[in-house]
């Protein structure tokens, strides 16, 4: 199985965030906690779906990622766009920071 992390949109501003090792949410995918097998992935998603997080994030789900050097990179193009921002506006989104 591919490595997985949990992503969601932050309630307040809708921005893309990732579940981190300390149970927080980071804008940087490299901070994400990685699940290496199915069981860990399920646990990760269960944690992210806790009702009390409904006021922090919206719509958590698992995505497949690959370790590329020091970076985590989603395998699906859609998720790559989410981690960066619109490809047609490289001055915006996380890629701009």
């Amino acid at each position: 199985m591919s490595l997985q992390v949990v992503t969601a949109n932050r309630l307040e501003d809708g921005l893309v965030v990732f579940l981190t090792s300390d149970g927080g949410w980071s804008e940087n995918i490299n901070d994400a906690r990685i699940a290496e097998d199915k069981e860990a992935a399920n646990a990760l998603l269960a944690e992210a779906s806790a009702p009390e997080l409904d006021i922090v994030i919206v719509g958590p789900y698992l995505i497949d990622v690959e370790q590329q050097g020091t970076d985590l990179v989603p395998t699906k193009y859609r998720e790559v766009l989410r981690t960066k921002g619109p490809s047609v506006r490289e001055d915006l989104g996380y890629q701009a920071v």
């Binding site: 309630l11 307040e12 501003d13 809708g14 919206v58 619109p86 490809s87």
Partner: protein, 551 residues
């Protein structure tokens, strides 16, 4: 131009305050996302890939200068300095923060704008000809009827939970610039044998995963009877439209499954019950609405302006802009000026805060404060004196708004696609940019002539690809973007749904594929033929051959 009455104003303010409370409760955890989602959608707030998206209604595509200026301000204050004009003649903001959206809505309300009925299974914003009230070929300004439809449909208690969304478009001209045949209801104004003005009513058109050209349910309905007749259609749809399957819930499926004759029978039966009731609108009331859209105070001018002719002769770029972007006006000495939001290699339909403010200023100075949004994602200054066109163009040109490409191959419709949209299967904007660059040379565009390319990032077809002369649909094939080409679509009075040419193309191949189609067209066209005319004459095969050869 139509102004809100106190009732409208009150309604919008109440709605805004209501939403402010709802946002507050959501952020405090008093309501869940599941409870909140339908509430935010009712106020035009979507959650997209990167952020929230706010869709603001531009009723029948008409804006006043102060409204457009405010849209620019909102882009700057609540967004990242730009907005996206859409095929629904609306504007979308891509980056608003949830807790700031109520303030944005309040700022909109100050200029009598809102996001109501831009989402959900209600009667959506009515769209129409962007040249309404200005076009030389129109029978009558369609907007008074659009406004009556807006009032009839807004918060209509019976039609707030339809089986699915419902879109109505109206044209007042025989040359349909509002794509009325691909809407749930299309209204085409015309005159009957007695010389009365009324509408042909088409029903069951639509795009999305099952595209249809609308069918005529009634050749002629008089103005006074229009609203009761619309009500009858909506009632039949509300009663018989399928609620079991979201993909079969549009009225087009009902019309397709039951047949237009059956639907006509049901509608006529319903209509006979209500036609003499409160929805019959008398002449005096219609006259009242027509007055709201009375023509501005045009000056009596000669249709020829010496300075205008001189500027054309002296400035080739201006002459080119006039050639494509300036359209005949009904009033002598005036013209319709199209503001292209399709700079070569740019993002179709995007406008910055300052561009919006500039167009607002120009409209105030030169076009009676009137601006239009087109379903082809451009803006229009509808009433410019010919003598002022050069000044207008010079200002537009400085702001990268003077591109001379209306109706040409680079005037591409593109939905936001995977760069923004959560439903997308592929990107559409970058493809439109590459096509635009490939064909950017203006002489070449002149040679090609009218060619409508329309791109959607998924089967929902927000980018109208089914009715593009060349349509492009972005799909996902095992994690990679690929693009399916359709040919022969048309959104005009000769509407047709494009046919799929064959297997899709990779992102790397697709621009070459489009170019080979264009080259073929140039090779085989007869004099005066547009791409669509040649396609209709020769059919799919010659084009298929250049795309696939022996493949």
């Amino acid at each position: 131009m139509y102004r809100y009455d106190d009732f409208d104003r009150q309604l919008v303010l109440e709605r805004t305050e209501q939403f402010r409370e709802q946002v507050k409760r959501r952020l405090a955890g008093d309501i869940t996302e599941e409870q909140f989602r339908p509430l935010r959608l009712m106020n035009g707030v979507y959650l997209q890939l990167h952020a929230y998206m706010l869709r603001v209604a531009v009723p029948y595509g008409t804006l006043r200068a102060d409204q457009l200026r405010q849209l620019g301000m909102i882009a700057r204050v609540y967004d990242k300095g730009y907005g996206h004009f859409t095929t629904r003649q609306n504007i979308q903001y891509n980056w608003p923060k949830l807790d700031e959206i109520p303030d944005a809505l309040l700022d909109l309300a100050k200029v009598e704008m809102h996001a109501i009925q831009t989402s959900g299974n209600c009667i959506r914003n009515t769209t129409t000809d962007q040249y309404a009230g200005a076009a030389a070929d129109e029978i009558e300004d369609p907007r008074p009827y659009c406004e009556l439809i807006r009032q009839w449909s807004t918060f209509h208690p019976e039609f707030t939970y339809l089986p699915r969304k419902f879109k109505i478009a109206v044209t007042g001209s025989p040359n349909d610039r509002a794509a009325v045949k691909v809407h749930d209801i299309g209204l085409r104004m015309h005159q009957n044998e007695a010389g009365e003005t009324g509408f042909e009513v088409l029903v069951g058109g639509g795009l999305g995963r099952t595209p249809f050209v609308g069918k005529t349910i009634r050749d002629f309905i008089g103005k006074n009877d229009l609203f009761s007749y619309l009500e009858a259609i909506l009632r039949v749809y509300n009663r018989f439209g399928r609620r079991d399957n979201k993909y079969k819930a549009r009225i087009k499926i009902l019309v397709h499954e039951e047949g237009i004759d059956k639907i006509r029978e049901l509608v006529e039966e319903e209509w006979s019950q209500i036609k003499d009731g409160s929805l019959r609108v008398d002449d005096a009331e219609i006259a009242h609405y027509i007055e709201q859209f009375a023509p501005p105070a045009f000056e009596a001018l000669s249709d020829d302006d010496a300075d205008f002719e001189r500027h054309k002769a002296e400035n080739r770029r201006f002459a080119n802009w006039v050639r494509s972007n300036v359209i005949e006006h009904k009033q002598p000495g005036y013209a319709i000026a199209n503001v292209s939001l399709k700079p070569i290699g740019g993002i179709p339909g995007d406008a910055t805060d300052t561009q919006m403010e500039l167009v607002a200023d120009l409209s105030e100075k030169y076009s009676f404060g009137d601006v239009r949004v087109t379903h082809e994602q451009n803006l229009v200054l509808p009433h410019v004196k010919k003598a002022d066109l050069f000044a207008v163009w010079s200002e537009l040109d400085k702001a990268d708004l003077g591109t001379a490409n209306l109706g040409y191959v680079t005037d591409i419709i593109s939905c936001p696609g995977l760069d923004y949209c959560a439903l997308a299967t592929a990107r559409s904007i970058p493809l439109s940019q590459r096509i635009s660059e490939r064909f950017g040379d203006l002489d070449r565009q002149h040679d090609i002539g009218e060619l409508k390319i329309k791109i959607s990032g998924c089967i929902n077809a927000c980018g109208h690809h089914h009715v593009g002369h060349i349509g492009i649909l972005g799909l996902d094939k095992r994690g990679k973007e690929f693009y399916q080409i359709t040919l022969g679509g048309d959104a005009s009075q000769d509407a047709s749904i494009g046919k799929i040419a064959g297997a899709g193309f990779s992102e790397a191949e697709v621009v070459d594929a489009i170019e080979s189609l264009v080259t073929k067209y140039i090779d085989i066209r007869d004099g005066g033929e547009r791409f669509i005319d040649t396609y209709r004459r020769v059919g799919m095969d010659p084009f298929k051959e250049v795309l696939y050869g022996d493949r």
